[in-house]
Symmetry: C2
Amino acid sequence: MPGQVNYEPLTPLTYLRRSAYVYPDKTAVVYNHRSFTYAQFNARVNRLADALQKEGIQKGEKVAFMCPNTPPMLEAHYGVPLAGAVLVSVNIRLSAREIAYILNHSDTKIVFVDTEFADVIEPILNELPNVKLIVNIDDGAAPKRLPGPDYEGFLASGSPEDIKIPVIDEMDNITINYTSGTTGLPKGVMYCHRNAYLNALGACVEHGINTKTVYLWTLPMFHCNGWCFTWAVTAAGGTHVCLRKVAPDEIFSVIEKQGVTMLCAAPVVLISMSNFPGAQDVKLQKPLRVVTGGAPPAPTVIKNMEVMGVEVVQVYGLTEVYGPHTICEWQDKWDSLPFEERAKIKARQGVAYITAAHVKVVDGQMKRVPHDGQTMGEIVMRGNNVMLGYYKQPEASEEAFRGGWFHSGDVAVTHPDGYIEIKDRSKDVIISGGENISSVEVENVIYQHPDVMEVAVIGVPDEKWGEVPKAFVVPKPGTNPTAESIINFCREHIARFKCPKHVEFGALPKTATGKIQKYVLRNDAWKGRDKQVN
Amino acid sequence: MPGQVNYEPLTPLTYLRRSAYVYPDKTAVVYNHRSFTYAQFNARVNRLADALQKEGIQKGEKVAFMCPNTPPMLEAHYGVPLAGAVLVSVNIRLSAREIAYILNHSDTKIVFVDTEFADVIEPILNELPNVKLIVNIDDGAAPKRLPGPDYEGFLASGSPEDIKIPVIDEMDNITINYTSGTTGLPKGVMYCHRNAYLNALGACVEHGINTKTVYLWTLPMFHCNGWCFTWAVTAAGGTHVCLRKVAPDEIFSVIEKQGVTMLCAAPVVLISMSNFPGAQDVKLQKPLRVVTGGAPPAPTVIKNMEVMGVEVVQVYGLTEVYGPHTICEWQDKWDSLPFEERAKIKARQGVAYITAAHVKVVDGQMKRVPHDGQTMGEIVMRGNNVMLGYYKQPEASEEAFRGGWFHSGDVAVTHPDGYIEIKDRSKDVIISGGENISSVEVENVIYQHPDVMEVAVIGVPDEKWGEVPKAFVVPKPGTNPTAESIINFCREHIARFKCPKHVEFGALPKTATGKIQKYVLRNDAWKGRDKQVN
C-alpha cells in the first residue's frame, strides 16, 4: 500500500522533514556554544545520508555510532535511516571486547567514532573484517584519531538537498540497540519505523512535548535511542540540548542557561543531582519535568527531587519495548494526598503508554494476577511498542515472545486501581525460609536511612533459611553508618524476616548504563555453591 | 500481521478502552445535569455494541445516527465500530429527501433517531427498504416517537462487559460521512481505523489535549466525526461536554460552569459569539482555546475573539481529509507582532498536521507554485489523513485522487515561509475583465466595516466586464448601512476593480453545517444566462 494517496508508511524521518519545513529558523540543537536551526539540522542529516549512499551503503546495511550525546549522535538517528541503512547505537561505556562483538555480530559496515573513544577502538581495528570505513567525530574531546575521514568533511561530501524518504515497508528495521544485559552476551534489539514513529508520538502526548519544549540530553541516546525522545522532541519542533558529560554541576548550569523544561534520567542520576551540594539553592526558571525509569526509584529520591521543585514522572520499560512502555499516569485526585503518599504512588510503574496498548502482570499460566497489590507475577507486553526481535537470534526472540507476549522478566503486582508496581527482577526475589522477599522493597527502606546514598540487596547463602538478605551500602560522603544502625532502621519499618542479616559498605558494581550488577555481588556470595541464582 | 506480538491494528477503539482502564472514576461525559465516568461511558459503549450484534448486525454493515451532540452520538463513535459495523453520521439539518437518499445509498440497516427529528424521519419511513430497525433516542427534546425501541432500553439489552475489538485490518472502514456539498447529491466519505487513530493522536499533539482538557461540543459530531475530536479527547482522558443547541448564551454559560478549555467551531459560530451582547463581560476562568475551520475566518472575527481573551487557532481541511489537515502552527517570533499582523497570520491555513504528512499548492501540471504569496494554485493532499474514497462511487474517487493526490478544489497561495493561505474555492474566483478576484479577499474587507455581521461575495453578469463582484450583506442588529458606504469602504482598502459594484442586504442561504451557499445566490443572479458558474 505504500505511496497510495491515503496510506503513507509511518517513519520518524517525516518528523524532521516537517519541523524543517515549519520551523526552519528555530533552534533545533544546542551544544556548548554551537547551535543549529531546524533547517541546518535537516541539511546536515541530508548530507550524512547522501554521503553514506555515496560511500556505497545499501538498503538494510548497518552503520554504527559510538558517540556521546553530541549533535552527530542525534543526526545519526535521521541520517542513517534516511540513507536506507540501520543505525547501531553502541554503548560508549563498553569495553573493547564487547564493542568488537557488537560491531561484528551486527555486520556493521561503517563506524563513526567520537575521538574520546578512539583509544578504546584502536586495539580492535584489525578484528572488524566487515567494517570498511571509520569516520572520526572530533569536537576536541581528545587528540587521538583513527585512520579515516573527519565527520565534518564526510558531511561536506554529501548534498544538503532533501532526498526521498526510502521507507516502503513501515515494519522495516530502523535501529538495533544491543542490550547491556546483566549476564551473557549482548543481544541486538531491532526497532522498526512504524513503532518508533508511534512511540515518539505517544511520548509527545504523555509528556506534553511541544514547540516550547527544551529537552536536555542527560539520558544516553544509545539507550533505546534515548527512549525515542530523539524522534519525539524533533516531531514537536522542540529544542535538543546536547551534553557530553552527565555531571550534576554541568546539568544544573545548563538547565539554568538554556531554560530546560524536560530531561530523562535513571534514578542514579537523580540521586547524584539531589545529593549535589548546590542542589538546595537551585532556582528553576521554568517548570522542569524529569522523566525517570530504568529501575524503580526509591520514594526518597522522588521526594528529594520534588523538594527542588521538579516534577518527577516515572516510566517503565526495557530495551525490547522501545524504552518506556508504561507511565505512572497522574490522577488529579492524588494532588491533595500527603507528600509521602504521593511519592509512594510515583514509584509505581503505572499503566500502558497511550500508544503501547497492552501490558499485564501474569502468573505462570499467562493469566492476569488479581488486582490486589499483593500477588506477584511477570510483566508481559504486546502491541506497537514491542521490538521486531533479536538480530540473528530467532530462538531467543521466540523464547522472549512465547505465548504471543513479550516477557519482561520483571516481577510486579497490580494494584486495585490497575497500576502495576515492580517488586523485582525474577532473579532478584529472595526466598528465605519459604517466604518471598522483594529485594527492592528492602532497598527502598534502606534508602530512607539518612546516611545512605546507594544500596543493593541480594540473597546470600544461609544454613538455616536457605538464603537471607544482605545489603551492600554506599554511604553518603562524610557519613560513617554502622551495619547495626542499618539493620535496626529496617526493623523499625519492615518485617524482621525481610531485614538484612548482613551489611557491607563500599562501591557497587554497575553496568555501562548505570544499572547495579547484582549478579556480580551474587557471584561472589555464591561462589562454589550448588545454587546459583542468576 | 494482526495479532502479532509487535503489531496491533491502529484503531481509536483502543483509546476508550485505555481511558476506561486508567481513569475509571473520572468524568468522561457531561450533558446538562447528567454525567458519565469513563467506566460508565465504556460500559454504555459495550452495551451498544453487544446490543447491535444481538440485533444481527454483521461486520461492515452500516448503522446510522441522526442525533445532535448528546451522549448517544458520542457513544455511537465507539459502540458502532466495536460491533464491527460502520457508523453513518447523518447531518441533522438535512431535509427528509436528503436523509432518505443517504440512508438508502449507504445501505443503512439500523437508524438511531433523536426524538427532535422524529418528525423529519416519519414521512420517509416507508421509503427505506434496507432499514430493519429504528431506535428512539429520547431525552425529552420532543414528544414524537417512531415505531421501535428506546435507546436506553436498547442499551439495557446488551452486556456491559468488554468485548474483543474486532479490527483486523486497520484500513477497514470505520465511518461514512456524507458531504453536505454545495451542489449535487451528497457523497459518502469513507474513513478507516488507522487514519482516524492517527488524526486523533495528531490532534492531541497539535492542540495539547490532555487529561485536564474540558472540551465543549459546539462543532457537530456529524461533521467529520467532530474533526476526529470524538476520538482525540477520549484518547487523552479529557472531558466531553455535550451540547444540544449551539447558541451563544448557552455556550458562554457552559464555558463558565464546566470550566471549558477548548472548543471547535466554524467562523459563523465565532461571529455569533463575538456579537453576543454579554460577550464584553465574559470572564474566562481557564485559558480557552478555540479551534476554527471550515471557512477562512475574517481577521476581524479572530480579532474580536482575542479581545475576549480566547486563543484562536485555525485549522483547515475538508470532509475528505478527516476534517483538519493543516494548522496555522504558531511561531514564537510572531508573539511580538502588532495585533493586526497577528490576526492576519492567524487567518492563514498554515502547514500540515504532524500526522498529515503532505499538502501543497500546485498548478495545472501538479507542480508546486512558487512560495511567493501571490501565485494561486489548487491545494492537494496525500497521506494518512486522506479518505479511503467515496462509498460506491469509484469514478468520483478516482477523479478526486487523480495524479495520486486528493484534490481539494480550494485555491490558495503559498507564502514565503511555506504557510498556505486560501484565496477561494475554484468556483468562487470571480473573473472580471480578465482579472482574477478572490471573493474571500473582498469579503474580508467588508467584514471590517463596523456595521457588517456577515457577508458573501459572488460574481454577477456584467455586459462590459463579463462579471463583477456583488456583495450580499447581513447588517449587525440595530445598524442600517447603505450600499454606498460598503462600496466606499472597500475602495479605501482594495483595488477598485475588486470592489463590489452591487450590494444587497438580507439573510444568507446556508447549508446545514452553516456554510454559506453561494451557488444559491449565483443561481438567482445567472438565471437564464449561458454561463453558469457552479
